[in-house]
């Protein structure tokens, strides 16, 4: 066997197992879901080809767009809630003493919990009878604010955003800290010598220096928000009356509760298309060069 044939053989055997598993379980399902979207199928029995009917229904389905709106609300909560809090914490936590390390670890802690645990804990916090939120309102004399937080359509979606923000601040904070520590210290020294005020320095030096990182974080917020399925499944299941439905939970309910596999597949495909548009769009919008 010649050397080049040996190299080729090794490359093939080296890459093939990973590639096959990846293709079969990540890439191929995308095409299957686009394909099943053309069928009316209950999961068992014969599937009936119905052309673009499912996709047309998705586009006109008010609950689908309600889910999309809720996903966007979660994106907004991440971008305008998580990112600023994470940034403030990062600005205050760039040192490496024991105290700062402990604070960083505490903020990060929720990340290692299963989302099922997070969901159940927060459902109990919000619980109308046993929840500590109502208990707290009681003990400070604000009984009239007490609510069944998760079954009140006007507030339930906002109540779900709080644990989402709580849960995911940690990684964004760490990303920002790493970026802040990468700013060459000469720049900070020069700013100090020139007597640049702290607010001006923050907006004209620090933030532009880490703009690329902020871009990455915004993209992560978007892709992360589309993953907000577990918490919602555990806390509300998309209810009451679809008020907390997100795209993923609606896909789940359409497929596994009412057994419309074709329609669920069409929703899956729409989720992929929407999320790619969102990610590319946000990248484009943030392309503006701040330096």
């Amino acid at each position: 066997m010649t050397t080049s044939a040996r190299i080729k053989g090794f490359i093939l055997i080296g890459i093939l197992p990973a590639l096959l598993i990846y293709l079969f379980f990540v890439v191929v399902p995308i095409f299957w879901s686009a394909y099943y979207g053309f069928f009316d199928w209950k999961g068992i029995g014969a599937a009936k080809f119905i052309g673009f009917d499912n996709y047309a229904e998705v586009v006109r389905d008010p609950i689908f767009w309600k889910g999309f709106k809720n996903n966007m609300l979660i994106v907004a909560a991440s971008v305008f809630g998580q990112v600023p809090i994470a940034m403030i914490l990062a600005l205050l936590l760039t040192r490496s003493n024991l105290f700062q390390k402990m604070i960083r670890a505490s903020v990060f802690m929720p990340m290692v919990l299963s989302s099922v645990v997070v969901g159940i804990i927060w459902s109990y916090i919000y619980h109308p009878q046993i929840g500590i939120l109502n208990f707290l309102l009681d003990s400070v004399g604000l009984e009239n604010l007490k609510k069944a937080w998760l079954s009140e359509p006007s507030v339930s979606m906002y109540m779900i955003m709080i644990p989402i923000i709580w849960n995911y601040i940690g990684p964004y904070m760490i990303i920002f800290i790493a970026a802040l520590q990468n700013i060459p210290s000469e720049i900070n020294d020069a700013a100090q010598i020139d007597g640049v005020g702290s607010t001006r320095k923050l907006f004209q030096i620090t933030l532009p220096m880490i703009w690329d990182t902020i871009k990455v974080v915004v993209v992560l917020c978007i892709s992360g928000s589309l993953k907000a399925f577990d918490l919602i499944y555990v806390m509300t299941g998309g209810g009451p009356a679809h008020t907390t439905e997100v795209l993923a939970s609606y896909m789940y309910n359409s497929t596994f509760n009412v057994y419309r596999f074709g329609y669920g597949s069409a929703i899956s495909t729409s989720i992929i298309i929407l999320s790619l548009i969102l990610i590319l769009g946000s990248q484009y919008l943030m392309k503006r060069d701040y330096r």
Binding site: F10, I11, G14, I15, P17, A18, I21, Y22, F24, F25, V26, V27, P29, I30, Y36, L92, T94, F99, Q100, R104, A105, S106, V107, M109, L113, S114, S115, V116, V117, I120, I121, W122, Y124, I132, W166, G170, P171, I174, I175, L180, S185, Q192, S198, T199, L202, V216, L226, F229, D230, Y233, A248, M251, Y252, T255, F256, S265, S268, I271, I272, I279
Partner: protein, 287 residues
């Protein structure tokens, strides 16, 4: 996080100390608020139901350790811990082995489809996992893998491979070419180089991948919810979700079951916190 650095906004000398003090108090308060739900979980796990109801903010009057053993029995925690362990370890072995091998090939060899393959794996990091649930369910059903360990192991591995490949490849590209050439001249084959040099050298990258994978596999809920319905195969998050709805009025037992369930990940976090925090950053920024 070793580099010492000045605060981005540095206050005047006289106020510096007071400012620092105020900031530290603020940070401590923030940390306490963040940890409070967990503290509540742990203390409630040892209370009676009446106490859970009437004194939510206090420590238990008597620590009811038997809550834990009862919760363990009633929620069949033993079975689900075994299932989670099997699935997590198998997925980790597959992810690390296949990921490292692919990373070695992609980082150290030149071939025609390299850029295309890198792009293909990168795409996987942008695809929302949940959008593949329905087609994966149908596909797994067709090949009769539903309700087996493989229904979790293979998708977990597939979705973790891009991260494993990028983190490991980034690590392997910086190793000098000479080491490899010397080994080739000595008559070591590529497999020998992979197992005896590349694997040990990439150990720091692989351990990051392993810890992140452990957290992801151990905590996963969506795949387990859809691909597993046999009670004997339920993983920890899945059986917790069932338990919480089934025993919805015995709150202390649910809290106790959850306490048992979060211990492994919290212990892992306390042991490897720097690595976990840095690893999640590396993975995120690469994508």
């Amino acid at each position: 996080m070793q580099m010492e650095q000045k605060l981005p906004f540095s206050p005047g000398r006289g106020w510096a100390k007071i400012n620092r003090g105020l900031i530290n108090i603020g940070l401590s308060l923030y940390a306490i608020v963040t940890l409070y739900p967990l503290f509540w979980l742990f203390t409630s796990a040892f209370k009676t139901n009446e106490e859970f109801d009437s004194r939510p903010f206090y420590l238990p009057e008597v620590w009811h350790w038997d809550n834990l053993s009862r919760a363990w029995k009633v929620s069949a925690m033993g079975t689900s811990l075994i299932n989670s362990t099997i699935v997590t370890i198998a997925s980790l072995v597959l992810t690390l082995l296949l990921g490292a091998l692919a990373a070695y090939v992609l980082a150290r060899f030149q071939f025609r489809l390299k850029a295309f393959l890198m792009g293909l794996f990168l795409l996987g990091m942008l695809i929302p996992i949940h959008s593949t649930l329905v087609p994966l369910f149908i596909m797994l059903k067709k090949v009769s893998l539903l309700d087996t360990y493989w229904a979790l192991i293979l998708p977990y591995t597939a979705f973790e491979l891009p991260l494993a490949i990028f983190v490991t490849a980034a690590f392997l590209t910086v190793i000098p070419k000479e080491i490899e050439e010397a080994a080739l001249i000595d008559g070591t084959g590529y497999w020998g180089i992979f197992f005896r040099m590349m694997l040990p050298l990439s150990l720091p990258a692989l351990s990051t991948v392993a810890i992140l994978g452990f957290l992801r596999f151990w905590n996963d809920f969506a795949f387990a919810l859809i691909f597993i319905s046999k009670p004997a195969l339920k993983t920890v998050p899945l059986s917790l979700s069932v338990f919480a709805t089934g025993y919805s009025t015995d709150y202390k037992l649910t809290m106790a079951a959850m306490t048992i369930a979060v211990i492994p990940t919290i212990v892992a976090f306390l042991m490897f916190q720097e690595q976990i925090m840095k690893g999640m950053t590396a993975g995120a920024v690469k994508g």
